[in-house]
Symmetry: C2
Subunit: 528 residues, 2 copies
Amino acid sequence: MSRQRSWWGWGWEDAALTPAQTGKLAAALSARFGGADLAVHAPPDLAAVDLPAPRVAPPSAVDGMCSTSTHDRASHTYGKSYRDVVRAFHGDLTRPPDVVAFPRDEGEVVALLDWCAGAGIAAIPYGGGSSVVGGVEAALVDDTYAGVVTIDLTGLDRVLEVDTVSRAARIQGGALGPVLEEQLRPHGYTLRHFPQSFEFSTLGGWLATRSGGHYASVYTHIDDLVESIRMVTPAGVSESRRLPGSGAGPSPDRLALGSEGTLGVITEAWMRVQDRVRFKASAGVRFSAYDDGVEATRAVAQSGLFPTNCRLLDPTEAMVAADVDDGSALLVLGFESADHPVDAWIARAVELCRDHGGVVPEVRSSATDEAVGTWRNSFLRAPYGRDALVSMAVIVETFETACTWSQFGDLHRNVIATVERALQEICGDGWVTCRFTHVYPDGPAPYFSVTAPGRWGSELSMWAEIKAAASEALLAHGGTITHHHAVGRDHRPWYDRQRPDPFATALRAAKHALDPAAVMNPGVLIDP
Amino acid sequence: MSRQRSWWGWGWEDAALTPAQTGKLAAALSARFGGADLAVHAPPDLAAVDLPAPRVAPPSAVDGMCSTSTHDRASHTYGKSYRDVVRAFHGDLTRPPDVVAFPRDEGEVVALLDWCAGAGIAAIPYGGGSSVVGGVEAALVDDTYAGVVTIDLTGLDRVLEVDTVSRAARIQGGALGPVLEEQLRPHGYTLRHFPQSFEFSTLGGWLATRSGGHYASVYTHIDDLVESIRMVTPAGVSESRRLPGSGAGPSPDRLALGSEGTLGVITEAWMRVQDRVRFKASAGVRFSAYDDGVEATRAVAQSGLFPTNCRLLDPTEAMVAADVDDGSALLVLGFESADHPVDAWIARAVELCRDHGGVVPEVRSSATDEAVGTWRNSFLRAPYGRDALVSMAVIVETFETACTWSQFGDLHRNVIATVERALQEICGDGWVTCRFTHVYPDGPAPYFSVTAPGRWGSELSMWAEIKAAASEALLAHGGTITHHHAVGRDHRPWYDRQRPDPFATALRAAKHALDPAAVMNPGVLIDP
């Protein structure tokens, strides 16, 4: 029997926390929140949910790939942000997509877009559905459209071709992380792109949202692993030439990257794949002063050593996530290679850390990838924990940014202070932590995690207030509204202020040229 | 007394080859070409040149920064391709710009574009004028325009701000290479971007053409050193936020990068600068079989070692450029760092080379940058030699591309065979050589140099035929029409075939939105 995916929460139903695990989590958190009532609510029953009737009916050309079943429509109503899971858990499904389409090849994608463009129906490329920014949400499409078709692309899931000389692979846009890795493995390759959504996000979704990946430096975004992109737009199929580098005009790929389904559907890409890792070295560096940790991380980021992992946890996150109980910040430092031992690399990085007051109990060097695997599994399990937290009305969400090193001190202090104040006022308790997910020579990508007791039924408005305060603080202190979570519909108010006006003008014109009926993911990134 | 720049050739008049040096060069080449007649012609006399009267007169708002002098118009008529120098040397100046403008600040750039847009005058951002692809050529602007104003931007030449924490600098778009380096030096910084045009090209020009720089890997294009860009478009000033990385929609900077003056004028950019190099190591690796050299270079490019220099010279280039007389290919391998010795890096790269049959007589390791300086000076002197070659009707030009490793063997064989055949048929003699300027995990950027005896007065048609044959071969075997020389007007026939049609549609729409009067560098990249 095939595994079932939860229609309201993150992942496989059989991988969810057990009632016993959930109860234990509630008890532990209740203690942390001074005995707060964290009653665990039962998950929603789909049989009790009444969906509005579909407003449109697929014509015969696309009927075979379309579904209007309650399960398909309900499970494709939202992405997977905290907000999304809360709404689904509460059975709030007032505006599902009218139709969910499951194309199996590019021709079917073309047929779907033809139908939508001709009939004035909004088309939402759903990828794997893991958007955390309202990027796949039918409820946010306005009523000028005749209906909404959500396009689940996971049927386009094959690795079509492997070039072992150039170390590249042609992969369909709907392949989920584990699905494409499984097909690359027999060739000795891996894409080595592991966002937290890995299990339920697709290559096309990663490209369309400029997903942040495994590498802490150099190849931070999926953008850097792209050789060429094939995208179906309402104006025709666009395919860039396979090139390792080019200077021929503005890059066509860079227009598709980050387009979030507003220009078309990415059906294939030639991706730069990696040989499987053979050598690794890692160290946990403690800093009694957080500022020293920041300085050390900056030195490593500016050294040209290019660490694979360079994750500075502030003292709160070090405590919550890594059991560091002495108030230290923790820098998780790692190097890896498929080609050579990396001892010289980590030795110099550790030396830089010690120069800045870092304490390094041990440098681990190994010829296998097991420790990373363990960490990664725990990282990928996190969204399952969130489903359980939602059931007990705990507010649990993340937001992220990037800024220059010169602005980081102010940004960190102000964002933490703003969110802590909001948590006290709105939730009466809770904490916010910060780690770097990626580092650049000119600045870090800080990632913030919020955990707080919510009030059952009021979680959404509580979180909305916290998120708005955080977003204002990010923008006021030189950050971007997103480093790798995308813009979607939720980040629009801040993205619109951050983006240069003439660029908005150019992007709107480009969209109008490729999508004259304005049916592609309306409301995301730009207004028509 | 300030130095004079040649109005027809490459550089400073006082740096040109002396008559004695030119004579010696002619004798040496004549011997190589079987005693061909390489009579040296006298340089053109500007006093004998009759320019057409300007068709437009600057209004008072811009008059103070505009020139219609013969010297200014003549010296801004062409870029600096072989074709351009030949035409100027022959006194062919039938279509100079009507006006040359020298703005001194951004406000003056705005005023110039306002004038042009209002009066239907083509505006050509000239940068430093080193285009080799017809990117700054007034003669190629069609007669539907009232006139042509060429905008020399070298008056915007200052480093405005330095951020020593984030290691970044805000630099005006018109700063020439040596001018910006001189201003960065007191801060201990360098941009470390050294295209062959370094002396007479500007930061804005590098950005607008996606210039290829010093680093053989990772940061190959100027694109990779950009933090934010400020660009004056006819529709307003666009300025992106200073961010080390972002995933907020398609990158605004990536639309400006490669736009070649068709969307606006780049007036400023925040650039990632570098600490000055302290450690370097280099080796020359010989391969008796070229294919082994290619395999070794691929192994290094895929190793994650990120060499600064990784320049494989094919046997002909090794002979011509590096006096290798045994038929070997030569890989010039170099690593550098401002932070740490790079011995472990080059040791592994050399090991990879030896695994592929490479012979490494010596690895040089040093703590200074002198050897690179020597090589670089000779590299930067090359265009002066070209001026002398033009005076003796020698055809001397380069073209470049990038392709995947899997396609490189075919591409190299076919391009070399095609050009050699064309040289025999058209010139009766000559040679073509190939080196890699940059390498990627998935492919190299091969750079071809052609030298052949031309016939005085027929050089242009001879070269046009060779160039067309070479361009067809590049495209037929998976290459790009340019890796870092840009598209301009000269590469249009091949660029138009290489570029995805829907992207052309989008780019045209974006241009129309930013430049509704279609006055920005018409004919470059796209038709209105």
